[in-house]
C-alpha cells in the first residue's frame, strides 16, 4: 500500500505542480526582463480558463461536442493562449510601460490595481456563477479513461496535463536558448541599455515576453479547468499567489527555477495532505517555503544579486 500511495500522491502533486509551474513561468519571465512582479498574472490565467470554457460551450459543451475531442482540446488551448496573450500585452502597454522608470513599488501597485479591475470585470461580465468544464463527460473517468495499475489510478486528463506541461516547457527552453528572440530576451534581461545599443528593440522584446508568459498562463487555466473543472472569477487570486510563490522559491527570473518551484509546491501540498493532515496543509507548505527562503534567500536556483557600489 505504501509505495502505491506514494506514487498516487506523486502523480497528484505533479499534476498540481504542473499548473503552478506554468503560472510561475509567466511570473519569472516578466520579472527577469522588467524586475516587476506582475500581480495581474493570476487574473490573466483566470480569463484563459474562461475563454476555454466559452469555446467549449460554443462548440456544443462537454456532453455533446460538435467536433471530436482531440481537435476540440487543441482549439480550446489555442484560443485561451491567444486570448490570454493578447490580454497580457494590453496590460503591459497601458499599466506597466508608463512606469518603466518609476520607483519599484509603482508598477507593483499598478499591477494590484489591474488585478482588482480584471477580477471585478470578470464578476460583471460572467457573474458569480461557478462554471464547470464537466470533463468526465468529455474524457471519461471510468476505466476507459484511466490507467489502472493495481491500486494506482491515473486518469487520462492528468496524463494529458503533465505531458503538455512538459511539452510547453521544452518548447519554452528551446525558444529561450536556441532562437534569436530568446537571445534577445536574455540580453534585455541582463542589461536593457546595452541591448538597445546592440540594435535590439527592448519594447518589442518585452511585448513578446509578456505575450508568451500570458499565453502559458492561459494554457494553465485551461488545464486547470480540465482537471479540476471549476472556473470562477476568484480562481486567479489563489493560483496567482501560489504561482508567484513558486517563482520566488525557484529563484525569480530563472526559468528552470520556476518549473522547479512549481513542482515543489505541488508536491509539498500533495504529500503534506497525504501524510500529515489536510487541515494544516497550507501551514505546512508555507512553513517549508519560509525555511527554504531563509536558507537560500535568493531562491533555490537563483543567483545572488550583485550590487554595484
Amino acid at each position: 500500500m505504501d509505495v502505491d500511495f506514494f506514487v498516487q500522491q506523486l502523480v497528484n502533486g505533479l499534476t498540481l505542480g504542473s499548473v503552478y509551474a506554468l503560472i510561475a513561468l509567466g511570473y519569472s519571465m516578466v520579472y527577469g526582463i522588467l524586475k516587476l512582479l506582475n500581480f495581474a498574472h493570476g487574473e490573466v490565467y483566470m480569463f484563459g480558463a474562461f475563454i476555454g470554457y466559452f469555446v467549449l460551450s460554443a462548440l456544443g459543451g462537454a456532453s455533446s461536442p460538435s467536433i471530436p475531442v482531440a481537435p476540440l482540446l487543441v482549439i480550446m488551448f489555442l484560443a485561451a493562449m491567444l486570448g490570454a496573450g493578447l490580454l497580457g500585452v494590453v496590460i503591459e502597454r497601458y499599466a506597466y510601460r508608463p512606469l518603466r522608470n518609476a520607483p519599484r513599488i509603482a508598477p507593483l501597485i499598478s499591477a494590484i490595481g489591474v488585478s482588482f479591475f480584471l477580477q471585478a470585470s470578470a464578476l460583471l461580465l460572467f457573474t458569480a456563477q461557478f462554471r464547470t468544464y464537466d470533463t468526465p463527460q468529455l474524457i471519461p473517468i471510468d476505466t476507459t479513461g484511466r490507467i489502472d495499475a493495481g491500486p494506482l489510478h491515473i486518469s487520462l486528463t492528468r496524463i494529458l496535463v503533465i505531458v503538455s506541461t512538459i511539452g510547453l516547457m521544452i518548447a519554452l527552453t528551446l525558444l529561450v536558448s536556441r532562437t534569436r528572440l530568446g537571445k534577445a530576451m536574455r540580453a534585455v534581461s541582463y542589461d536593457r541599455e546595452a541591448a538597445a545599443m546592440m540594435g535590439i528593440d527592448p519594447d518589442k522584446v518585452i511585448v513578446a515576453t509578456f505575450f508568451i508568459g500570458s499565453a502559458l498562463a492561459g494554457a494553465a487555466g485551461v488545464m486547470f479547468g480540465l482537471v479540476f473543472e471549476r472556473v470562477f472569477h476568484l480562481m486567479g487570486f489563489t493560483a496567482g499567489l501560489k504561482g508567484f510563490t513558486a517563482a520566488v522559491i525557484g529563484g525569480i527570473g530563472n526559468i528552470p527555477g520556476a518549473m522547479l518551484g512549481g513542482l515543489i509546491i505541488g508536491l509539498a501540498e500533495s504529500f503534506s495532505t497525504g501524510y500529515i493532515s489536510s487541515t494544516f496543509q497550507n501551514l505546512i507548505v508555507f512553513g517549508i517555503l519560509i525555511v527554504i527562503l531563509l536558507v537560500r534567500p535568493t531562491g533555490l536556483l537563483g543567483s545572488p544579486v550583485l550590487k554595484k557600489v
Partner: protein, 395 residues
C-alpha cells in the same frame, strides 16, 4: 506605429466580445417574464393592498461566496416582484453587500437602521455576521430574518432575530441517525470546509455519530482549495461514509469525481449546502435538506414559480429559496400591519412577525416561529442522487 496597436486592441476586443456574447447568451432568454400569473405558495389571495415599505437585504453579493449571495439576492428580488404584482403592494429592496465579512456587516447594519424607510432586514447570511450586528438591530427594534445562518445560539442571543432554516443542532443528529441506522456506517470520515457553518455542523454530527457507536475521523479543507486528490488518496479503505458539510456544491462534485477517478467506492453524504441538482450530481450520494426538493414538489404553483425564476435568473441551488421564504415572511407581516390600517413601522412589523402563521410556503411546509425565533417543525429530508443526476427522496 499606431496601426499594430490598433489591430492588437481590436483583436482583444474581439476575443472579449466572444466571451461576453457567449456568457450573455446563456443568461437571458429575454421575454422579459418577471413574474408568473399563478398564485405563489403561501399567499392568501387578497385584493390589492396599499402598502409601501423598504426591506433591507444583507448578503455576500461580491467576494468569495458571491455565487451564494447573488442567488439569495435574486430570489429576494423575485419574491418582492411577485408579491408586489399579486398583492398590489409597493415594497422595495435595499441592498447591502457584506462579502460575508462581519466588519462590513457592522457598517451596513447602522446604515439600514438610519434609513427610516427600512422596516425589516433579510439576512445576514453568515452566523458571524449575525453576531456582529445582532446588538445593533435588537437595539433598534428591527426584525431581521436569515435564510442561512444556522449557528444554534443565535436566536437565543438576539431578540429580534428570526430564521427560516433549522439549526446545526437539528441537522447533525438527523444525518447521524440516518448514517448509522440506514446505511450501517461504522467508520465515518467527516471533512469540513473551515467555515463556521461547516464546523458547527461537523461537530454536531460527530457527537451524534459517536453516541450511535460509530468511529469518526476528521479533516478539513479550505473553501478555495483547488485540488482534493491528495485527500482522496488518503481516504482509508474501510471508510463507510464520507460526510461533507460543505457550502460550495461544486467543490463536492469535484471531490466526488476524484473519488471515482481513484476507484474509491465510498458514498458521499452531503449536508444541505450541497443540495444543488445543477452542481452536485455524484450518483449514489446522499444529500440532506431542510425542505423537500422544491423542484420535485408536487404543488403546481411552486413549479410555475420555479420555472419563472429560472427563466429570468437561471439556475439555483439551495440558498435561494429560504431567502425567498424569509422575504415573503417579512412582506406578509408588513402587509398584515397595513391591512390593520396602520403604518408599517419597525415595531409593528416586529410584533407581526412573532405571529407569523403561513399555512404554506415555497419550502413546502408551513412557517411559524418559536418564542426565540426559530422555525417550528423543522425537519430534514434526505435525498439520494440517482444515476441521471436527479434527486430522489428516501426519508
Amino acid at each position: 506605429m499606431k496601426t499594430p496597436r490598433f489591430w492588437l486592441l481590436l483583436a482583444l476586443v474581439a476575443v472579449l466580445a466572444v466571451g461576453a456574447a457567449a456568457c450573455g447568451g446563456d443568461d437571458d432568454e429575454d421575454d422579459g417574464a418577471a413574474a408568473p400569473e399563478t398564485t405563489g405558495g403561501g399567499d392568501t389571495g387578497g385584493e390589492a393592498v396599499d402598502c409601501t415599505a423598504s426591506i433591507g437585504i444583507m448578503g455576500p453579493f461580491t467576494g468569495d461566496v458571491a455565487a451564494i449571495g447573488q442567488e439569495q439576492l435574486n430570489w429576494a428580488k423575485f419574491a418582492v416582484d411577485t408579491f408586489n404584482e399579486e398583492r398590489g403592494t409597493s415594497f422595495e429592496l435595499v441592498e447591502g453587500d457584506t462579502q460575508l465579512d462581519p466588519a462590513q456587516a457592522s457598517v451596513v447594519a447602522p446604515q439600514f437602521v438610519d434609513n427610516d424607510a427600512i422596516v425589516a432586514v433579510v439576512g445576514p447570511a453568515g452566523s458571524q455576521e449575525v453576531d456582529a450586528v445582532g446588538g445593533i438591530y435588537s437595539d433598534a427594534s428591527m426584525a431581521f430574518i436569515s435564510g442561512s445562518a444556522t449557528a444554534t445560539n443565535l436566536t437565543e442571543d438576539y431578540e429580534t432575530f428570526y430564521r427560516v432554516v433549522p439549526t446545526d443542532a437539528d441537522q447533525g443528529p438527523t444525518v447521524a441517525t440516518y448514517m448509522v441506522e440506514e446505511l450501517g456506517a461504522q467508520n465515518v470520515f467527516i471533512i469540513d470546509d473551515q467555515s463556521s457553518y461547516s464546523t458547527g455542523l461537523a461537530d454536531s454530527a460527530t457527537a451524534a455519530l459517536e453516541d450511535g457507536g460509530a468511529t469518526v475521523s476528521r479533516e478539513s479543507v479550505s473553501q478555495d482549495q483547488t485540488d482534493f486528490s491528495s485527500l482522496v488518496s488518503a481516504v482509508a479503505d474501510d471508510t463507510d461514509v464520507i460526510f461533507l458539510p460543505w457550502q460550495v456544491a461544486a467543490n463536492a462534485q469535484l471531490f466526488g469525481n476524484q473519488l471515482a477517478e481513484q476507484g474509491k467506492d465510498v458514498p458521499i453524504f452531503g449536508s444541505d449546502g450541497l443540495f444543488s441538482p445543477d452542481d452536485f450530481k455524484v450518483a449514489g450520494s446522499y444529500v440532506s435538506s431542510f425542505a423537500p426538493d422544491i423542484t420535485g414538489l408536487d404543488d403546481p404553483a411552486i413549479q410555475d414559480m420555479v420555472a419563472a425564476f429560472e427563466d429570468e435568473y437561471g439556475d439555483f441551488g439551495t440558498f435561494g429559496p429560504p431567502t425567498f421564504a424569509a422575504t415573503t415572511v417579512v412582506m406578509e407581516a408588513a402587509t398584515a400591519v397595513c391591512e390593520g390600517g396602520e403604518e408599517p413601522t419597525r415595531e409593528a412589523v416586529l410584533e407581526q412577525m412573532d405571529q407569523t402563521d403561513l399555512p404554506d410556503s415555497i419550502l413546502g411546509q408551513p412557517i411559524s416561529f418559536t418564542e426565540n425565533g426559530d422555525i417550528n417543525d423543522a425537519t430534514f429530508f434526505i435525498f439520494q442522487v440517482q444515476d441521471d443526476g436527479s434527486y430522489q427522496l428516501v426519508e
